[in-house]
Symmetry: none
Subunit: 190 residues, 4 copies
DNA sequence: GGCTAATCGAGACGGTACGTCCCGTCTTTAG
DNA sequence: CTAAAGACGGGACGTACCGTCTCGATTAGCC
């Protein structure tokens, strides 16, 4: 027996409008300066309805991230067969986001959220496409010159480099994606 | 004549006790939850004295970082001549900090500060030893198999990987430093 | 035919446990700090069940008052034939309630409820025994030296004096009941 | 030495506008429905400025009462030499306030405040003129037929009767003041 | 027996207000 | 002119309740 709960059921309309409002305000104002109060007001919802389902704004942002409401596109690496080229395309896509208006601010907000909230932290890498990338590399281990089991380290290094770019406020220059892949993947795979 | 301003001069005692209090509270409570009010109280100082000299708590933290009051040790890579070994030692040192009690929390607080404040962001990499590492690699370019001009990318990738570790809440395992260096520097340099 | 409604009938168990819970919480926490939510929880009842039958907590308290669940005893004046003595006994009884632990708080809660809710207000005097006292005095008018038709004023003055005692936080001293009757009834009736 | 305190001094402007706003909102909305938040907004003041100086809205109302900002007129009994006539005039004045638009509501709000807050409770009687009346009666003890030391009881009874009128929602009729004085002062003084 | 209607418990919902924390600014007194 | 102290207007926090509503379950008269 599924042990039915009693009482009114959770309102999907409220949930949706809260997440939408969160995503919008996150993009507009950044993670700091994002307040539960303003989310509630923008969503046309009582504050308690937010606190009933999410412990803090960090988890709200985490759920938005999971639903793909924060990043403008699906940042998955393409698969043309040539890993190196795919990596470069992928990084260039990410860099393009970073260079878009307020793109860096959005990324830094994401980092701030990841620093404060466990859920966001655990999902940050995957949201940038790291997860599918890892399994992709793992599958190709033998075929490429990459040492086996290094997938995690490579992805960590590449995503980490992107994060450092956002944190260090260094402007991105053309060719950066290629140089980065070159540095991490090494000469051997060229 | 050096054009001395009239009136009382800035109190060094106040400055020091403010920075000390900031560093202590930063370590205890993290970047969020760090408040100017509590710093002033802990330092035995009026709030105005803080606002007179620093624009926000971010800059306070930046100055602490610059003075080496936030990280427990000097995180400079050693120089034994063997770059690969030095990198591993350096990363192991950083990982050791991460594994110390609240070490990860401290690192995440640093990242949060870097995400919010430009100064902290610009200095984060250097504070972890990235700056001296870069010049070291640049100097050795020809000697090693590293492609010329890749120093920045390599350091970015390594430091970035560390940052991702802290953000993703992945526990560190023995050998991780070596694997990371292996992945980034590639087989060719072994 | 009494035009019976269809559907389930009002649950007497719910009604009783609501009133009991109300009376208990009223005594424990006072009229302010008394919440429908806590009554419902204490009574093991849904909030709607309360709102279905009572418009507000004021009416709940009014019904408790009417059922004698709020005041510890029946505060009716005795009837020995000697009005003056009876009045003194009655006031002494009320004063005894006031002096009991939290007795004054209870009385003030009752006054607060009376100030907010019409029903409670109209019943307050009667609950303290004023109603039966009035008819008693009216019946004795000629026999005593009391001017005819003054019953209402006398009762109002006596009960009012008790209320003022509770409001003014003046401690009660022995003999107060007698002095009060003396002041209101005057020397002529002694 | 007067042990001078440091730091900015309390703003009289803020204090005044808070009390004015309190008095206005008290008259408009009553003691329940009076909220610190609305007072702060109406006074153009931060909530903390209220909480810094008053523990609760009860004390705010108490201070307004003390400054005579709540009751429309000075409700002191006149002194023509004839106590009975003066008492009647005084009660008629109070009854006139009760009969004015929202006058009864104001009185009940005052009673509610008195029931909740000690300060208001202690001052309620005095604010209605009870204090000056008591000393007046005491001074005349021998001259009148009033038993010595009965001043407090008489005032308590009279003011209490007024309070009961407000609580019981009984409409006031012409001659009520006289009947009340008659009942309390007795035939002897007629 | 099935239908309809009312009740009950539970509890989600949009709101208001609470009392607290902290912001960044301003004011006061002391050195 | 700096400094400690601290009051100020304001924004947001997370919590408590308000009164309404929506559920599923139960109960009782009616066809």
């Amino acid at each position: 027996m599924p042990e039915r709960r009693r009482g009114a059921v959770r309102s999907e309309a409220a949930r949706t409008s809260i997440l939408t409002a969160t995503a919008r305000l996150f993009a507009e104002r950044g993670y700091d300066h994002l307040s539960i109060e303003s989310i509630a007001a923008a969503a046309g919802v009582g504050k308690q309805t937010i606190y009933r389902w999410w412990p803090s704004k960090g988890f709200l942002v985490a759920e938005c991230l999971l639903e793909g409401m924060l990043l403008p596109e699906r940042l998955e690496p393409p698969d043309t067969g040539d890993l190196r080229t795919d990596l470069i395309s992928w990084l260039e896509e990410i860099f393009r986001v970073l260079e878009s208006p307020n793109g860096e601010g959005l990324m830094r907000s994401l980092i701030a959220a990841a620093a404060e909230n466990d859920e966001v932290g655990k999902r940050l890498g995957a949201s940038l496409g790291g997860l599918s990338l890892m399994s992709r590399i793992n599958a190709q281990d033998e075929a490429s010159g990459i040492s086996p089991g290094a997938a995690r380290e490579i992805v960590e290094a590449l995503v980490g480099a992107v994060v450092m770019r956002a944190l260090s406020r260094t402007p991105i220059e053309s060719g950066d994606a290629e140089r980065l892949v070159q540095a991490v993947l090494g000469v051997a795979v060229s």
